[in-house]
Point group: C2
Chain length 151, copies 2
DNA sequence: ATTACTTTATAATAATTACACTTTATGCTT
DNA sequence: AAGCATAAAGTGTAATTATTATAAAGTAAT
């Protein structure tokens, strides 16, 4: 944990930003909830537990900053709120998501499944890919069996 | 054009919805701007040109209805607004997008490049895919050459 | 004519951003 | 090292923007 905080600190310093206590608290919340896909509001509330004096605007600004530095990814699953997701160590690509349309659960896929597809895009469309967002919508394992049962 | 309106009319009727004049006007705007990715507001303004008495809420409701019936796709490129995009005739999958981070242009890709990937998702994660969203962010052809020149 | 849909205009809500002001950190001068 | 100037960051609140809800009125079909 400390190690990752440290790395992020360095990433900030590299662009001459500082890891202020508020920013650190925010990053810690993100680290502690890596599996979730928290909204800005969620993060704000969690940060407030450890640092009650922090302001919502600061959380938003911190998230935006982290987002610009590609430390977190800002994602949007289509329900009016933006969610923020830490990039994994050394991952230079955005990970994929499986969103269940029944229960709303979100699963992450770390593997990069788009290598071939990106090659096609670059050669056939002349588009230089820098990043991608891939989300699948469908039924997760649990809801598949639940659906079968109920019919 | 009339043919496509007709088909959409039938799709609505099949679910016992009617193609009211307001809905038709909205659909016509979508058809006339198929290449664009209009926001609800954009659509509202365009619809207003031909049917000034229409209300914004109606446009929103129509778009939501069309979205539910999978006649249009609601997409989100990360700039706070939802955009609406007609599905192509007979396309049962969501098409992909190439968004240029320099000039903001959006190109569409009709081919389904995810067949193999979806198979992997289903077999390896047990997730039953129903739809997907795939967006690439990067540099379009024009901006690539522009960038080279300016350096 | 009654019933269920739709639409309209407007108000309400919710997420995000802008603003004016205060606090904190940093560097320079002595 | 102490004191001051400058810049960066943070705070609470107000403003903005997109979207949704609501109540009243209009349409259309049985």
């Amino acid at each position: 944990m400390e190690h990752r905080i440290d790395r992020i600190k360095k990433q900030l310093h590299a662009q001459s930003y500082k890891l202020t206590p508020q920013r650190e608290a925010t990053v810690r919340v993100l680290l502690e909830h890596e599996a979730d896909h928290l909204s800005a509001e969620d993060i704000y509330l969690l940060v407030k537990e450890k640092a009650p004096e922090i302001g919502l605007a600061t959380v938003y600004r911190t998230l935006e900053l982290l987002s610009e530095l590609k430390i977190v990814d800002k994602i949007n699953f289509g329900d009016g709120v933006s969610r923020y997701d830490l990039r994994k160590e050394g991952a230079e690509h955005f990970h994929h998501h499986l969103v269940c349309i029944e229960c709303g659960s979100v699963e992450e896929i770390m593997e990069d499944l788009l290598g071939d597809v990106e090659k096609i895009i670059e050669s056939q469309w002349g588009f230089q890919v820098q990043d991608h967002r891939l989300t699948f919508h469908g039924l997760c394992k649990v809801c598949q069996t639940a659906t079968v049962k109920s019919t």
